[in-house]
């Protein structure tokens, strides 16, 4: 059982590594350079998948939080906690890559555009989620409040996605997803974007599997120590 679990993890990490290598090949050697944006357009192949992975993490936090409040399932709590950490990591990287892309394209590092502002708010919500967990003295109470914040915080995800339709913005229209108008992207660029999104989703799953496993060991150890002390 343990051996098959390790084999699965090894296979997952290996697949992630290979797909990521292929993505790097596509981005730097295969995909054509954009005529208008130049070489900086290649940031797109990291920026969009990072955003997607971050949103997916917060969706997992939502599911885990609902599961914990409903069934009091510790696995759901661990899933939400692990996913929130990885989501904060991805959204931090998404914001930083956005800042670094904005400078050559817009001429400024940051602007209080609706898409950028709502993304920053999203980041702050989930940093608050992690702080709530880290600073609460009672684990169960912390988990309960964090679950409520995890559910309420997810409201910002569709707001981030739809902000460019609701308000005037300098941010480009989405090229993928349910609210796209379609077209506008070279087929080879679209393929690279899709494979890059898959690669980052695999990175997410790999990190999530490892973090969940660590949480399981940590909780088991804490329970064991508590039982010895009592």
């Amino acid at each position: 059982m343990i051996s098959s679990r390790i084999n699965f993890r090894l296979l997952l990490h290996l697949t992630t590594f290979l797909v990521m290598l292929y993505v790097l090949y596509l981005i730097f050697l295969s995909v054509p350079t954009d005529k208008n944006l130049g070489i900086s357009q290649r940031i797109f192949y990291f920026h969009v998948p990072l955003a997607w992975s971050g949103f997916l993490c917060f969706f997992i936090v939502l599911i885990g939080s609902i599961g914990y409040l409903w069934k009091k399932s510790l696995i759901c709590d661990r899933l939400a906690h692990a996913s929130s950490e990885i989501g904060v990591l991805f959204i931090t990287l998404m914001l930083m890559s956005g800042v670094l892309w904005a400078k050559p394209v817009w001429g400024v590092w940051w602007t209080w555009d609706p898409r950028l502002t709502t993304s920053l708010i999203l980041w702050l919500i989930y940093v608050a989620y992690l702080m709530l967990r880290a600073y609460s003295s009672n684990r169960q109470q912390g988990a309960k409040y964090a679950a409520l914040l995890g559910i309420a915080g997810f409201i910002d995800v569709p707001i981030v996605y739809l902000s460019i339709y609701w308000w005037r913005t300098v941010h480009p229209q989405p090229l993928v997803g349910p609210a796209t108008s379609g077209g506008g992207l070279d087929p080879s660029m679209q393929t690279a974007l899709m494979i890059s999104t898959l690669a980052f989703t695999l990175v997410l799953i790999s990190l999530l599997v490892e973090r969940m496993s660590l949480f399981r060991d940590q909780y088991a150890l804490e329970t064991h120590v508590a039982s010895i002390k009592s």
């Binding site: 940031i43 890559s97 001429g107 880290a134």
Partner: protein, 82 residues
């Protein structure tokens, strides 16, 4: 949990410094016209890729530290039981 607190405090501090540096750079370059040739934008591309991998590597390092902590605690428990 203490490790997470330290990481959160450090991350927040790094982000504040990062935003301050960006504001300073923004103030200095507000009059500049932005890069026109593709090669001028290469440092931005490099920075994005470096930051992304550094971020993921840092998180993996954080997890390995947590694993080391758990292992150390397990070892001390074993010693106490013996």
């Amino acid at each position: 949990m203490n490790y997470l607190k330290k990481i959160l405090t450090k991350t927040t501090a790094i982000l504040v410094v990062y935003l301050m540096l960006i504001n300073t750079a923004l103030a200095k370059t507000s009059g500049d016209s932005h890069a026109s040739t593709p090669e001028d934008n290469l440092p931005y591309l490099f920075a994005v890729f470096a930051l992304t991998w550094a971020g993921i590597a840092l998180y993996i390092y954080y997890m390995s530290q947590k694993q080391r902590e758990i292992k150390a605690e397990l070892d001390s428990l074993k010693r106490n039981q013996e």
